[in-house]
């Protein structure tokens, strides 16, 4: 089964037709406003890694404080995003801008994973540093750039559907 056929099958589901025919504005609204809870919170952890905000608090504490909200935010984004995708799966699949968005999303994930298995392993050494080491700063900056690019790609692709 090719990816395109999977998209075709997805479009035939009941949930897809419900989103397409009636729920779309609400799901889309939740997806847009969910930006505040997802990127709006992960952003503060990134800024802490850059030493640009909340710098007097340990990095681990900032993470603990924001963890649940980030998780809730990204859960909303992936659920609503999945529903929106299912509504017009074949058209979206063929859209170049959407592919850019997906690639950026994957890069954001890879960046977070690399951070986890490298500099974050030695966090106890720099947890309280006002300005974390360069590798941590790089991860924070890259995360900010990637997430805001995901937003831009998302908005632009919706215009070219």
């Amino acid at each position: 089964m090719s990816l395109f056929e999977i998209c075709q099958a997805l479009e035939q589901t009941t949930i897809s037709s419900i989103v397409r025919d009636s729920a779309f504005p609400y799901v889309e609204g939740a997806h847009v406003l969910g930006l505040s809870l997802s990127i709006g919170t992960v952003m503060w952890f990134d800024l802490r890694l850059l030493g640009a905000a909340m710098r007097t608090r340990p990095v681990s504490e900032v993470f603990q404080d924001l963890k649940a909200w980030m998780f809730a935010g990204f859960t909303i984004m992936f659920l609503t995003g999945g529903l929106l995708f299912s509504a017009h799966a074949t058209k979206v699949y063929a859209n170049g801008y959407f592919r850019v968005k997906l690639a950026l999303l994957i890069l954001a994930g890879v960046n977070a994973a690399i951070y986890q298995v490298t500099i974050d392993r030695r966090r106890s050494e720099w947890d309280k540093a006002l300005v974390p080491p360069l590798a941590a700063q790089a991860a924070g900056l890259l995360s900010l750039l990637l997430w805001f690019s995901v937003v831009a790609a998302g908005r632009i692709f919706a215009y070219h559907l």
Binding site: F24, P25, E28, G29, V32, L33, L35, S36, L37, I39, G40, T41, M43, W44, A53, M54, T56, R57, E61, D65, L66, A68, W69, F148, V151, A152, R155, I156, Y159
Partner: protein, 161 residues
């Protein structure tokens, strides 16, 4: 009544060369929407972070006034981005936007949200610890979330209804 008074002004804006130029290209409008979403992420994101603290749900080791200072620059940036991009988007389709009930509702809510933001919200979030009661803090947070998210929901509704 106030809307009727504004009508000639809106028609003039929409018919200026600049307004026509903005409205001509969907690409231009799409990029303005990207700016609008960046602003939304910053403004609603900081509203959520401050509300978490005001509601006593997290970030409790941070001094409220310190947290406010930390998020202030990005909060202001978000607000300015939203107002400028919003005004430009409006200019690109002034007459048709102006007729919409959701647009008018959004503007009323925005006005209330701005008034609230620069009075009670600013006062409570900049106060020293214990200056105001936990109850007032909670009321402020709930009002902030309700007002700003109502503005957001009305904004999304303009596009759909």
């Amino acid at each position: 009544m106030i809307w009727e008074l504004l009508q000639p002004f809106v028609e003039w804006i929409g018919n200026t060369a600049f307004g026509q130029w903005l409205g001509q290209s969907t690409d231009r409008i799409a990029w303005l929407f990207v700016m609008h979403l960046f602003g939304l992420t910053l403004l609603l994101g900081t509203t959520i972070v401050l509300s978490i603290r005001l509601l006593g749900l997290g970030l409790l080791k941070q001094q409220l006034a310190q947290l406010s200072r930390d998020v202030a620059i990005l909060r202001t940036t978000g607000l300015v981005l939203m107002l400028i991009s919003g005004a430009l988007i409006f200019t690109g389709g002034a007459v048709s936007y102006f007729e919409g009930q959701w647009f008018r509702q959004k503007m009323m809510l925005l006005l209330i949200a701005l008034l609230f933001n620069f009075t009670l919200f600013r006062k409570v979030t900049n106060a020293e610890e214990g200056r105001y009661s936990p109850t007032l803090n909670r009321i402020t947070a709930v009002l902030a979330l309700l007002l700003w998210f109502s503005v957001g929901i009305s904004g999304r509704a303009i596009a759909f209804f």
